[in-house]
C-alpha cells in the first residue's frame, strides 16, 4: 500500500494503551431494525422464525419478533470494535457470553468495555488483551455481557509502519 498502514487506524488503541481495570464507554449507539436482525438472521441461515415471522410472534408472550441474540451481541461487539479491536492482528476467542434481556426492533443498543487481562503473546510485535464487553438498551438495562480475547499490535513495532 502507498499509504502507511498506521495512518488508517487510531493512535490511542495499541496494546500499550490498555491496562487492567480500564472501562470505556463507546461513543456510538445503534438502533436495532429489521435491517440488522432479519437480514443477518437470514444471511446466516438461522431458521428460528421467532426472529422473522411477525404474524407467528403476535400470538406469543412477546407480541412481536425478537431480535436474534447472535445479532444483538455482534452489534454490541461491533460498537466496541473501533476502540478495542481496530489495531487487532486477530481475534482469538470468546467466553462467558450471556444475554440478559430480549431486544426488539426499535431498541437502541450501547456498548461498554472493561479490560480484564493484559499479557505478552508468543510474538514480540503484539500482545493479548481480554475485554469484557457490556451491552445496554435505551432504558439503561443490561442486555449482554461477554469476553473477547484479541491479539493487539504493539505501537513499538507497528506505530510507524
Amino acid at each position: 500500500m502507498t499509504t502507511k498502514l498506521s495512518a488508517l487506524t487510531g493512535r490511542n488503541n495499541y496494546f500499550e494503551d490498555f491496562s487492567v481495570g480500564l472501562v470505556i464507554r463507546h461513543a456510538r449507539g445503534k438502533t436495532m431494525e429489521p435491517l440488522e436482525n432479519v437480514l443477518i438472521t437470514n444471511l446466516v441461515m438461522n431458521t428460528a422464525q421467532g426472529h422473522f415471522n411477525e404474524d407467528a410472534m403476535k400470538a406469543s408472550a412477546f407480541k412481536q419478533r425478537i431480535s436474534y441474540g447472535g445479532v444483538n451481541f455482534s452489534l454490541i461487539m461491533g460498537l466496541a470494535s473501533q476502540d478495542t479491536c481496530e489495531n487487532a492482528l486477530a481475534e482469538l476467542g470468546l467466553d462467558n457470553i450471556r444475554l440478559m434481556q430480549p431486544v426488539f426492533h426499535g431498541d437502541t443498543l450501547y456498548a461498554y468495555s472493561e479490560v480484564l487481562e493484559v499479557k505478552d503473546a508468543d510474538r514480540e510485535d503484539a500482545g493479548e488483551v481480554t475485554f469484557r464487553h457490556y451491552g445496554v438498551n435505551q432504558r439503561d438495562e443490561q442486555i449482554f455481557q461477554g469476553d473477547r480475547r484479541v491479539l493487539l499490535k504493539r505501537r513499538s513495532h507497528w506505530g510507524d509502519r
Binding site: 435491517l35 428460528a48 441474540g69 460498537l79 470468546l94
Partner: protein, 166 residues
C-alpha cells in the same frame, strides 16, 4: 378450492425437543455455506465492526492475508445458524456461549459446514416444562480443518413434562 388444500394438508414439522437429545450424539448439520465477500463486508459494516482487515483488501494483504479476512463473528453466526434447526429451533431461548476459539482465518470463497455433539442434558429445577442442553459445535472449512469451536447451551422444551412415556 382453498378449503380442499387446507383440509388435506399435513404439517411437516421442524426442530427437536428435549427427549431427542442424548449425551454423545453427533449431528452433522444441513446445507453448509460458502461465505462471499459481500456477506462479510455487509455484516462488518452493519455491525460497525471497524478493523480494516475486514474491509480493506490491500491492508489485509499487507498483514500477510491472501484476501480480506471474514469477520470472525460472521463465521460464528453462520456456524451457529446452520445448527439451529437440529438444536434450538423450537425448544426455547439461548442460555449462553463459552469456550469459543477461532482456530484459523476464513477468507471469501471458503465453504463452512457445521456439526454439534451433545455434551450435557439436564432438567431445569425452576422450569419443569424444559431442560437445559449443551452442545459442542464445530465449524469446518472445505478442507475439513476446524476454523471455530464453542459450547452453547439452550433451554429446550420437554415433549413429556410429567415424564410420561409417549
Amino acid at each position: 378450492m382453498a378449503d380442499d388444500f387446507r383440509s388435506k394438508a399435513v404439517l411437516w414439522p421442524k426442530g427437536h425437543l428435549y427427549e431427542d437429545f442424548s449425551v454423545g450424539q453427533v449431528m452433522n448439520h444441513h446445507w453448509g455455506r460458502t461465505i462471499l465477500e459481500s456477506d462479510t463486508v455487509l455484516f462488518t459494516t452493519l455491525t460497525l465492526s471497524f478493523n480494516p482487515i475486514y474491509s480493506n483488501r490491500a491492508f489485509a494483504k499487507a498483514h500477510g492475508h491472501p484476501d480480506i479476512v471474514v469477520n470472525p463473528l460472521f463465521v460464528f453466526n453462520t456456524v451457529l445458524g446452520l445448527s439451529v434447526e437440529d438444536c434450538s429451533e423450537i425448544g426455547g431461548p439461548f442460555v449462553g456461549v463459552g469456550k469459543l476459539t477461532y482456530h484459523e482465518p476464513v477468507y471469501p470463497g471458503d465453504t463452512i459446514t457445521s456439526r454439534s455433539t451433545t455434551v450435557a442434558c439436564r432438567l431445569s429445577q425452576s422450569n419443569p416444562s424444559s431442560g437445559i442442553v449443551t452442545w459442542h459445535t464445530e465449524g469446518l472449512n472445505q478442507d475439513g480443518r476446524r476454523v471455530i469451536d464453542f459450547e452453547r447451551s439452550n433451554l429446550v422444551r420437554r415433549r413429556h413434562p410429567e415424564g410420561r412415556s409417549a
